[in-house]
Amino acid sequence: MKQIDILIIDDEIKFADMLSRRLSLRGITCQACYDGQSGIRWIKENPGAAALILLDLKLPDMYGTQVLAHIKEIDPAIPVFIITGHGTREDEKECLDLGAAEFIHKPVSIEKITTLLTHVREEVK
């Protein structure tokens, strides 16, 4: 099983890849998936392998809330942070009700993400 720090599920390939590259420069390991199904498959195949998940709300094959619900069925404890360019207050409420840790609007700073990871790591200790 492949242990990583962050799983990024986002259909904006350039965004996901650039974010992964910047995080890797800071010693943070990432895996990028570009649609909902491949993200869910990765989580099923690598249970407990990611410390946290960054999930886009609008994906080509599924809505982010559907992906979130699947993730929470597979692994209720994993922190999922919604990162979106399009979220409404209703989306935010639905995501938080489904168990998202936080609802973040793009663009998001690299410092914010590293801080999220630090907090998640501290909570696990």
């Binding site: 350039k14 910047r22 080509p60």
Partner: protein, 224 residues
């Protein structure tokens, strides 16, 4: 008919306008997010360089290419936004089916569930004397319904032509449209009625036929 058509444009049209603009703002936010991350990466490389660490120069070239591509994508998005905004300038005018279809395809392309769809559109361009905004609305709704119902790996073929001197036709063909059970919905039917358009479909084809002129719409919207 007249008041109903005006209400349709005012209420439903405003909803349509809002939803298209929301998808455009989403696209622009994604573009800015990529540019922001790329600029951040350039800053990371600058810091590495200051620390005396080496990196491949191709990384810089990739970054500048990526920023240039995203800026072009942004300009393209704004061009489409502008074209869509101007679709309400004239309540009724001679409207190109090809131009309206091209814009609808581009606008629906901003929706996340359409991104993997290949589209092959062809036909002889024809014009109809109609409401460009309502026509855009009808084609956009039709495309959205098809995208939502079918396998996105299929290529959507769209063919438009003059069916007879008074009628134009747009045919949307996909691998299977059998899942398109709740289409046309009430809102789409209202728009189609206002445009004097009919929607018929089989398992694989959906055909929209429309009168080339529409006196009722002309009277209602142009007040003539």
């Amino acid at each position: 008919m007249n008041q109903h058509t005006i209400d349709l444009v005012n209420k439903q049209g405003l909803q349509f306008f809002g939803s298209v603009n929301a998808s455009i703002s989403h696209e622009l936010k994604n573009i800015f997010a990529i540019i922001s991350e790329t600029a951040g990466f350039l800053n990371d490389l600058t810091q590495l360089s200051k620390q005396g660490k080496e990196f491949e120069l191709s990384l810089l070239e990739n970054c500048s290419n990526s920023i240039a591509e995203e800026i072009e994508r942004g300009f393209d998005t704004i061009r489409q936004m502008n074209q869509f905004a101007h679709s309400v300038d004239d309540p009724i005018k001679e409207t190109s089916i090809a131009d309206t279809l091209t814009l609808a395809v581009k606008l629906t392309g901003f929706l996340s569930y359409t991104k993997k769809t290949q589209i092959d559109a062809s036909g002889t361009d024809i014009t109809v004397l109609t409401s460009p905004f309502l026509l855009q609305n009808l084609i956009y709704r039709t495309l959205c319904a098809i995208y939502k119902s079918a396998d996105t790996k299929d290529t959507l073929k769209i063919f438009f032509h003059e069916k007879d001197p008074d009628t134009v036709s747009l045919t949307f063909s996909w691998g299977s449209l059998s899942a398109l059970t709740d289409f046309p919905d009430r809102q789409t039917t209202d728009v189609a009625d206002a445009l004097k358009a009919t929607i018929n479909f089989t398992d694989k084809d959906l055909e929209v036929t429309m009168a080339r002129t529409n006196d009722n719409l002309f009277t209602a919207l142009a007040g003539r």
